[in-house]
Symmetry: C2
Subunit: 219 residues, 2 copies
């Protein structure tokens, strides 16, 4: 467990909690370590919303597949980040999305009851965690706002440019990598993959961007 120290320090759940207390808390919370191979399902749609996930290594994706078979990618999870916490904290019956490993992943699963319903004796760590969860969820809320701002655009070109400009802003550079392959980007932007490829070519020909694989540069 010690090898995850740096990851856990950065976890939004443990902000403001002294290093020496983090591992004690993880024990106290009854966290379970699990590993998943690439493409495996960490949490399946319909599962009970019981766990708050902490990604320790690898990367994962939040997905939803609808009735028609269209996949929507809600977002990506990187080490230190939480996943599925909104469903656990809202005390939903089940999780409406799937969490899929993009590469081999190690995750820590914390039973949400240990965070929400125990320790009413004013334990200060516990209160700090609730505060941290609150902040984390406010931030996640904003991330969803940003996704909606991108996907609300009406054409593939506008969605793509909105997304790329967002990435450029995040990277503070016109040159950046995106975390998605073409199919994933299409599923994130909620457009057709082949149309997306065509649009990227078009923008390249128009001299608006350069790209090789996942690397883009806005001109």
């Amino acid at each position: 467990m010690e090898k995850y120290f740096e990851v856990l320090r950065k976890c939004p759940l443990f902000v403001g909690i002294a290093d020496e207390h983090i591992f004690k808390m993880i024990n106290c919370l009854g966290a379970v370590l699990e590993t998943f191979d690439k493409k495996y399902t960490i949490i399946a749609e319909g599962n009970p919303a019981k766990f708050i996930g902490i990604l320790l290594s690898g990367s994962a994706q939040i997905e939803q597949v609808d009735y028609y078979g269209n996949r929507t990618i809600m977002g990506r999870v990187e080490p230190s980040q939480l996943f599925s916490e909104e469903f656990a904290c809202a005390e939903r019956e089940s999780v409406p999305v799937s969490v899929i490993a993009n590469e081999p992943c190690e995750v820590l699963l914390v039973d949400c009851n240990h965070i929400l319903h125990t320790c009413h004796n004013n334990c200060s760590f516990h209160q700090q965690m609730i505060f941290n969860l609150m902040k984390n969820m406010a931030t996640k809320n904003i991330v969803y706002h940003q996704k909606m701002e991108i996907t609300s655009k009406r054409t593939t070109r506008e969605k793509l440019l909105a997304y790329l400009m967002f990435c450029a802003k995040e990277a503070a550079s016109n040159s950046f990598e995106i975390p998605y392959d073409r199919q994933e980007l299409a599923d994130f932007l909620e457009v057709d993959r082949s149309g997306l490829s065509a649009e990227i070519s078009k923008l390249r020909k128009e001299g608006i961007l350069q790209s090789t694989k996942n690397h883009f540069e806005l001109l």
Copy 2:
């Protein structure tokens, strides 16, 4: 202020707080009461993200207008509900959306600093409020998930049906009212208004639904 008692009791911020303490807390939080006429802007895009809003009466809408002039309606706010709390709690500089009064509104604005940064003396009310905010934001997060599930559909018809089925589920009946007029529904579903009207007519002719104004019935 007493006339808002019932509304405040139902406010997610005051869950688990005894009735007799609610007004004291509102004073303590330095909440400001403001009123707005129909169509007025309660919070404008770009404003400092300083306030958590509580809607006391009327109804409001969360909107975002992009570069191209397309309006997106993120959602609706009903009495007792909070608005703009995610931006305040995440300590964002400014609010990326506008909150618009749909009818004459009374709102309570609470400086988020009074909730986030004071009272580190373990005041139990305060801790309850943080917990409440956390739950509220988890729930809001899920609401956004639901919206994305609807708007991720690829055609106007699919979006509309997904929305109507969601409403029917909420109402626990095939017969229900929606809170939007046609233009607003189009802006919520992120489609063209005239195309939406055409699609509704089509569904009516196909015998899939009946509708008069805002009332719908799925058959």
